[in-house]
Subunit: 392 residues, 2 copies
Amino acid sequence: MKCGNGIEARQVNELFINVDPIQAGGRLTGDAIKAIIAYGDGYSVCDNCRKPNRLDCIAKPPIAEFHKDVAAWLNMDAARMMPGARRGFQAVAHTYVSKGNPVLLTSLSHYTEFLAVEGAGGVACEIPADSNHLVTPDAAAAKIEEVKQKFGKAPVLAIIDHVDYQYGNLHDFAGIAKVAHQYDVPVLYNGAYTVGTMPVDGKVIGADFIVGSGHKSMASPAPSGVLATTAERAKEVFRTTGITGDVTGRKFGIKEPELMGCTLMGATLVGMMASFPHVKERVKHFDKELVNNRIVMEALLSIEGTKILSEYPRKHTLTRVDTTGSFDRVAETHKKKGFYFSSALNDKGIFGLIPGATRIWKFNTYGMTEKQTRYLADAFVAVAQENGLPVK
Amino acid sequence: MKCGNGIEARQVNELFINVDPIQAGGRLTGDAIKAIIAYGDGYSVCDNCRKPNRLDCIAKPPIAEFHKDVAAWLNMDAARMMPGARRGFQAVAHTYVSKGNPVLLTSLSHYTEFLAVEGAGGVACEIPADSNHLVTPDAAAAKIEEVKQKFGKAPVLAIIDHVDYQYGNLHDFAGIAKVAHQYDVPVLYNGAYTVGTMPVDGKVIGADFIVGSGHKSMASPAPSGVLATTAERAKEVFRTTGITGDVTGRKFGIKEPELMGCTLMGATLVGMMASFPHVKERVKHFDKELVNNRIVMEALLSIEGTKILSEYPRKHTLTRVDTTGSFDRVAETHKKKGFYFSSALNDKGIFGLIPGATRIWKFNTYGMTEKQTRYLADAFVAVAQENGLPVK
């Protein structure tokens, strides 16, 4: 099917098992598909916008209720929807970081966190991960001390990924937040890979801010995301506008400058809302995801020379693999070179590996059924065997 | 139909003639509806993202080509898609405005322009509109002189709406830009009501930046928009990241910090792309829109006591009306008070007027067929007659 203007209808998630690392948690639910069709038109959720004229106050569709539900679900006091997690980082960085201020990130931080710091004029100070690719509270403490030496003050903000995008490792966020708070550093919890896939309790983990991604982990269309915070910090990051027109004397009510006023006025927001009951339910079953993931892990490890670079056993479904000692050896002599690997998997109905990559690559089993994981596990082994690689 | 989580399927644009002032240009095309269904899932357009790993470089779907097409269509040198026009204002303001800098707006500027100035720490300096609610080049020159007196320097940026949101008046953007350039002030053209509905030629009008809204005027889902600029200014507002990780030495390639990297990774972008051929065609027929609009205007003016507050004859379909001398007189004694008016129109299949408003209100006939405008015209007259108001 054509959608006009050279766009072929996408059927990746209908025809394939999709193991793309960033796409697993963003597949829409059936309810979200219905909702985005019904609310596709521009400002579709604004039909019943009344004073005070702000997106999160609209009663029908139940946007105001949804905002309260999301905040409660994360055990935070206030939440706003954002056009992507990155816009949450940006809002918080812009509120707390001034030119030259040190900001605590990690050696595994996502690039959007760096861009948020850059935009605010801050200086990125990475907590180094250890040799197991884990960021520890001790390393955080050491880095804060180093920052204090260098800048004469503690970082003004810490942005810490609970699960990082490189290894999918689960870092001790609560421990790091505790250390940061000892230095009065507010901490942003980057839950791009956790909010919507795993249970997240903001108070228990000690987050000042929780950022989640709708299109990455909340079964929602792009761009969408959430920024939640405490009552104390809401006054700062969700402060209302103070600017005035010098001629008209106009003021702009309760609009929030860090959000640029309203954020998601249509399809993206109703997509998040429609998927939310399903998302709330699915986070309770993350243990099942790990059981399924293990089926694939064991198959990969049965292929001699394959290494799991992520922590093992896995605590998240996003995983980094090193097949330099297995699949890459085939690439040396295969007529398709490294492309044989993704090509063979595609032929078996598996999508989402970077074409040509046979050394270090990532995949994500989130949301797959047990049957699909068994199929994927068998497929990896079959591709190994078809290419003469020894399997234990 | 229910879409889950308390969301009722919206059918406003299927069951009603919708004259909501901000919704007229944002209704999806059939192609856009197909596209958002096919690309609803999270990061759906990223299947074929390859180095240099940036949204506007993706070849399939033809995102890179679309970006070039949009820039050429606006007669600008570079374009990026943004999560709403407001994020375009924000990117430009953040690039050019520092704390305390004066920024030229107008007494009819949209609140999101004020928020962009506020976010950058700037001071809003409004060019006053004249008694006809028009912003003139002379008034712009006088304001710049006033700013120079007060701040010791010219404004660092001007943000000028070609068509304002209050009256839908068409201001002399080219004349104002010419004046601003005499003082070396870069000028942002706010085309939220024009890009996608009327022809816009950036070079002819002398814009340094053109901002358009996808969900307001380009038949696209929210949040979406465009920021286009000249080759010279692209180096500034679309500059690439310069931040480095202090431990890892990581750099982040060609990601653009004012965009926070990639912007619209799925449904919103393909919605814009699929509607684009239709949007390019429809802007050529804006004259037809004004002919249709005039049918409604004449009907309203035939109701004694009704005033058109916008410039007349109309140059845009968004119009501000004063019915204090007509429909509001009925509200004084009607059992439904002011709600009788929108209620009577709803009963006739017309949607989009603020319930209760009978004094000053806005509506937009953009996109209506001649038959629909005749129906709307007759409906206004009928409601007047049914309530005993004299009609000429």
